[in-house]
Amino acid sequence: METGIAQNKVAESLTFFYFCPPFNEKISRNIEELMYNSIVLVKQVPDTANISGKVMRDDGTVNRSKLPAIFNFEDKVALELALQVKDKFGGKVTAVTMGPQRASDILRECLYLGADDVYLISDRKFAGADTLATSYVLSEAIKKIGDYHFIFAGRQAIDGDTAQVGPQTAEKLGIPQITYAEQVLDIKDERVIVRRRIDGGYEILKSTFPVLITVIKDATEPRPFQLKRVMAYKNAKSIIDLEKVVDGNSLLYIDKLVHEYKEKSLLINTLTTDDLNVDAERCGIKGSPTKVHKIESVVLAGGSHTKIEPTKAGLGSLIDQLTQDHIFG
């Protein structure tokens, strides 16, 4: 991959090759056409906010595999921003997710919402990745897909709340980042102008292309599914889905089927280690510097509290107590 030259060398040499010539050529061609292509990073996450009794084990811990899997909301907002850029300036929107096979569910949702192309990055070797290993694989996939001005992503995913994958992917690609974006204000003179939240206010930043932008949930409201697109793409399938369809049949048949789906724009592109220029040592658990040393289920200590009756007398005595403690009065 031509754009990957810098990345492995920089740490040792302390020389910063932020942009590589082949990459810039691609971009300037697109600027002439006034098209702004976006890659959107999306993630399927367990719905940690809505934990019901059904997913609780008898010992009071959560059975994670039973949690419903949903489209991380801020990523959906990121996709919406990309679609708005496309609506206004033209271009192509490509949604990318890394995850297990079932993550293709949210790629179909991306197609319903208006994505032009979708990629599932899936390989057992990618499993167990922390944010560093994840951003490494994502950056290699992005180099493979290529030809973009924007990378949009949600600020963070609700399963980890780390907000690290966006900036780390930008660093691996050697491109600028704008995090906590609220609005894409304008594109002019080959720069994008973005309003972002900061502590205690906001700032307006101007960046060159390409740029990675992470988006907060208040930025905009995702559009609803487009019925026509739902009808068109509900049968979109990845190669692994298709393999299941032809289970037991010859490989030739799967090739035909893949070709057929591709022709009909119904193929969810899949990228594995075979398709990417990745170093196995930097993927998955192996490539993750952080390790989970210990996990403790939250067991409530059963601390004792004084029960107060929800009556005027009960509350009155509580207020007396707090007044005695010099909290009230």
């Binding site: 907000a163 660093e171 502590d199 509290h305 509350l315 909290i327």
Partner: protein, 339 residues
């Protein structure tokens, strides 16, 4: 790995020349971590005309301050700030680097961790130094990065055993800010900033900050509402009660997500950590992330209609009932007693 550094670094965040509280809180924690390893605590100060901040870090336990001061560094910008820290980290390989989990800290830390291939854990609620046996191998003096995870159902201890530098971010208010009794002699190492073209790929067009009128951290009384209130209208009860008893209004993350209250009033792991004299939690179930942000309050009153709500486990006083009934009674009783 032999010959690892024992130094703890803290990135000192400044906004318009004023240091962020969280940076000094991290120095106080960093002091303890450095002492545990018999290492040094270093403050990294980047900005313009910020030497006074570098001097102040010694009051919170710094052994040394690294100062990078230039007019071009007046405002935080990812590319220049991260490049400076990258170069410093690569050169000195500190054992631990801590950042505040502010907007800027959460922008900067992952970029630096990625470049230096360091382990990074976000929003830690506790940090410790400990010997660890991991997969049959002994490691001495690892940083335990402790945080609730997975919707608050678990508490995870994360380690970065095989890399030279371990990084973590911590929210404001989580660590206590402690002035040291006998500060070390001021020792400032100034590093010259040499701009390069890539530093300027992103420019600030304008910046707006309002002096926040909200001071949750300093409020002696906080009345917090949760998703259990059901609607923004019902959330008004929280305002009524806070107004009556002279408290600040706060909310749980679920209340923020539901739009009942603004994010800057969120208490919890991903919001503000508070230790008021009195904390009243109304309609808050009490997930670990919320409790992490309020359980050190002096007195806690929980009002909830679910007798099994975990919030009762940390409460000193529990009131089982509907907020819509309990709060008006509370207000009435208060007015009768104290007005």
């Amino acid at each position: 790995m032999n010959n690892l550094s024992k130094d703890v670094w803290v990135f000192i965040e400044q906004r318009e020349g004023k240091p962020a509280d969280v940076s000094f809180e991290l120095l106080s924690k960093g002091r303890k971590l450095a002492d545990n390893m018999a290492g040094n605590l270093k403050a990294v100060v980047i900005g313009h005309e910020v030497k006074n901040i570098a001097v102040e870090t010694f009051n919170y336990g710094a052994d040394e301050a690294i100062l990078v001061d230039s007019p071009e560094l007046k405002n935080f910008l990812t590319l220049s700030y991260s490049r400076i820290i990258n170069e410093l980290v690569i050169e000195h390989q500190p054992r631990v680097v801590l950042f505040g989990a502010t907007v800027f800290g959460r922008d900067l830390a992952p970029r630096v961790a990625s470049f230096t291939k360091s382990g990074l854990t976000a929003d830690c609620t506790d940090l410790k130094i400990s010997n660890v046996n991991y997969l049959g191998k002994d490691y001495s003096d690892l940083l335990l990065q402790i945080r609730p995870a997975f919707g608050g159902n678990i508490i995870a201890t994360i380690i970065s055993p095989d890399v030279p530098t371990q990084m973590a971010t911590v929210r404001e208010g989580v660590m206590e800010m402690i002035k040291v009794e006998n500060p070390k002699a001021v020792k400032i190492t100034e590093i010259k900033y040499t701009p390069v073209d890539v530093d300027k790929l992103v420019e600030i067009v304008e910046q707006h900050r309002e002096e926040s009128k909200i001071n949750l951290k300093g409020a002696p009384i906080i009345v917090a509402g949760g998703y259990g209130l059901g609607s923004k209208e019902n959330f008004k009860l929280i305002h009524d009660l806070a107004h009556t008893i002279g408290g600040e209004v706060a909310g749980s993350r679920a209340a923020v997500d539901a739009g009942f209250i603004t994010p800057e009033r969120q208490v919890g792991q991903t919001g503000v950590t508070v230790r008021p004299k009195l904390y009243i939690a109304v309609g808050i179930s009490g997930a670990i992330q919320h409790r992490a942000g309020m359980q050190e309050s002096n007195k806690i009153i929980a009002i909830n209609n679910d007798p099994d709500a975990p919030i009762f486990e940390v409460a000193h006083y529990g009131i089982l009932g509907d907020a819509a009934e309990v709060i008006p009674l509370f207000i009435e009783a208060y007015k009768q007693k104290l007005k």
